[in-house]
């Protein structure tokens, strides 16, 4: 029997917390090891309990979810973070990603996607609510249409697209190299080319781009 996934749940609303806890504990192999009512408490509990996954609400008193994520990520990179939010705006998503979150869930679909999200981030993958990808894509397409710009995804070679997807899914250069049977050095070169072609700065923007294009979800 595989080891159970230990989860820390942080939301300032008791009703939501209780509901989510019940959803999570119904799932085989999931254990909620702690609950926090604000960001500061979440950072403290993350340090003392060392859970596998932290589920953080964005709008919390004292310290908001994004700041809490940044601090937890700085303490330990092995703790996977899922952000719970009301907003499907790329401003939030990009900042959540920059803070070290791997998953971004909209609250209106939390109860259906939470299990999948926790499982995905536990495996080191990214996870986004399907609705998020849809909104981001709409924004992107409208912008292309209005400004008459070219879809920069079209500039990528098939190999580069493969690398983009694998990197965005959360794989390291070494893992990508193994999947594609090339050297990690080659992967690094592809990555740099992708970033240049898409005019992106850093992994969070790359992941956001992938979500927007529906490459990952």
């Amino acid at each position: 029997m595989p080891q159970s996934i230990r989860i820390l749940l942080a939301d300032d609303h008791t009703v939501i917390r209780t509901g989510l806890r019940l959803v999570l504990e119904q799932e085989q192999g999931f254990t909620v090891v702690g609950e926090a009512a604000d960001g500061r408490q979440a950072v403290g509990l993350a340090a003392s309990l060392n859970p596998d996954v932290v589920v953080l609400d964005i709008g919390m008193p004292n310290l908001n979810g994004i700041e809490a994520a940044r601090q937890i990520h700085a303490q330990s990179e092995t703790i996977a973070i899922v952000i719970l939010s009301m907003h499907s705006d790329e401003g939030y998503i990009l900042r959540a990603l920059r803070a070290g979150a791997k998953g971004y869930l909209l609250k209106d679909s939390a109860e259906t996607d939470l299990i999948r999200a926790v499982r995905a981030v536990r495996e080191g993958k990214s996870f986004f609510s399907p609705a998020v990808g849809k909104v981001l894509l709409e924004d992107y397409m409208r912008k292309l249409e209005r400004t008459g710009a070219e879809d920069s995804y079209e500039l990528l070679s098939p190999r580069e697209r493969e690398v983009l997807q694998l990197v965005a899914e959360g794989k390291s250069n070494k893992e990508v190299a193994e999947v594609l049977h090339v050297s990690p050095y080659t992967v690094e070169t592809h990555r740099a080319r992708i970033m240049e072609k898409l005019n992106l700065k850093g992994l969070p923007e790359l992941i956001l781009f992938a979500v927007r294009k529906g490459i990952i979800s």
């Binding site: 209780t18 908001n64 259906t112 409208r142």
Partner: protein, 432 residues
């Protein structure tokens, strides 16, 4: 009531002053005319008296001379003793007496009873002499002495009259002077009174004006204070409403969704007729949650507090184009991440209003929003390439609200626009 009364007395004071000025002016006119005519009168008098005196003096000299010649001739005739040469003829005596007569006719008409009496007497004495001469006699020494003394009295009277005239003239002149001095003093006094009155009036007007000015300034600052508080109160109200909606309604709906989801998963596989119902509930709750979130964001974008100014502006930019507005690009330079909440709100609302105007009126396809921070100031610029307008003619409530917000921070708002030339809104805010 009080105000109108005070106004009334102010007006009354003005009319009194005007009347006093007019009176003083009239007084001066009358005084000037009077002194001028008096002077003319005195001058005419002097000229007349001089002419009279000249005529009298000349006549008196001739009378004395002819009288003296006559009396010498009479004395020669009466003192004659034979045989000391040819006796003086009686006819020559008569001739001399006629000379005196002629001299008398040159005397100007008499101006006083005394003068007239003297002249009459002189004439009658002379007539007496003539009758004596005509009878071939020589006038007596006594009558001659009488005649001479009468002539002398005439001369005395004459010089006395001259003196009298001089005295009278001097009197008149001094009267004239006195009158002039009186007028002058009176005018000066009246002028001084009016000047004092005017001064008091002006001082009171100034004091009133100062009071009014202070009132106006106080009202203005009260008004500014009030509108600043209004803006603040509105912002506060929006924030608490937004939080209430988000935290209470939103979270309850979220909990409802979670429960519905759990119920769905707990539903035995046989109960297929209940599943669509449950799904309907979930969908409706989801939609409700989205609506609540949208209203909450409209009232107060939570990213302004969660993420900061620039992410909030970027969200606003996307939101604007999502709702069919223009494409908005946000440019940021050096803007501090922990900007004061007041400033974040101010800049956000400014840009929101400018974008609202651009979406509604400009017809622009793209808008550039630039926020720059340097040297302790924040510069906000919203530029569209739309239709533009004439800022001197159109000044909607939106622009006023923007100005209000900027002025609260001691900043300036500048709107650069002209029909067909696009619109640029520039705000310059000093940081505290």
């Amino acid at each position: 009531m009080l105000k109108s009364m005070r106004h009334g007395t102010e007006l009354g004071g003005r009319w009194i002053l005007i009347a006093a000025f007019v009176a003083l002016l009239l007084l001066m006119l009358v005084a000037g005319y009077d002194s001028l005519s008096a002077q003319q009168r005195v001058q005419a008098e002097i000229a007349k008296l001089r002419a009279q005196r000249r005529a009298r003096v000349a006549a008196v000299i001739v009378i004395r001379r002819s009288t003296w010649l006559y009396s010498r001739e009479v004395e020669r005739l009466s003192a004659y003793r034979e045989p000391a040469g040819a006796p003086p003829a009686i006819s020559s005596v008569k001739r001399f007496s006629l000379d005196v007569d002629a001299a008398l006719t040159r005397y100007p008409p008499p101006s006083s009873g005394e003068e007239d009496a003297l002249l009459v007497r002189l004439r009658s004495e002379l007539g007496e002499h003539r009758r004596t001469i005509d009878s071939g006699q020589c006038p007596s020494a006594a009558s001659l002495a009488e005649l001479t003394s009468t002539v002398e009295r005439l001369q005395e009277l004459d010089s006395r009259m001259t003196e009298d005239a001089d005295t009278r003239l001097t009197q008149q002149l001094s009267q004239l002077q006195q009158r002039g001095t009186t007028f002058l003093l009176f005018s000066l006094g009246a002028g001084l009174l009016i000047a004092l009155g005017s001064l008091a009036y002006i001082l009171r007007l100034e004091a009133n004006a100062r009071i009014h000015l202070e009132q106006i300034l106080r009202h203005r600052s009260e008004l500014q204070e009030l509108s600043a508080r209004l803006v603040e109160a509105q912002e506060q109200e929006r924030r608490s409403l937004s939080r209430e909606l988000h935290d209470e309604v939103g979270q309850s709906l979220g909990a409802l969704l979670v429960d519905a989801g759990r119920l769905a998963s707990l539903l035995p596989s046989g109960e297929d007729n209940m599943r669509p119902l449950l799904n309907g509930i979930r969908e409706r709750a989801e939609q409700l949650l989205r609506e609540v979130r949208d209203i909450s964001l409209l009232l107060r974008p939570s990213m302004l507090d969660d993420l900061g100014l620039i992410p909030a502006l970027e969200w606003l930019a996307r939101e604007t184009s999502r709702q069919g507005g223009p494409e908005v690009e946000v440019i940021e330079e050096n803007v501090s991440e922990n900007l004061d909440e007041d400033y974040r709100t101010c800049v956000f609302r400014l840009v929101q209003e400018a974008l609202r105007n651009a979406s509604r009126h400009s017809g622009a396809r793209s808008v550039i929003v630039a926020v720059r921070q340097r040297e302790g100031r924040i510069f906000v610029e919203v530029r569209d390439g739309g239709k533009g307008f004439d800022p001197s003619r159109m000044r909607g409530m939106g622009l006023l609200g923007m100005e209000e917000r900027v002025q609260r921070f001691g900043g300036t708002l500048h709107i650069d626009s002209r029909p067909g030339g696009g619109t640029t809104v520039i705000a310059d805010l000093p940081l505290r």
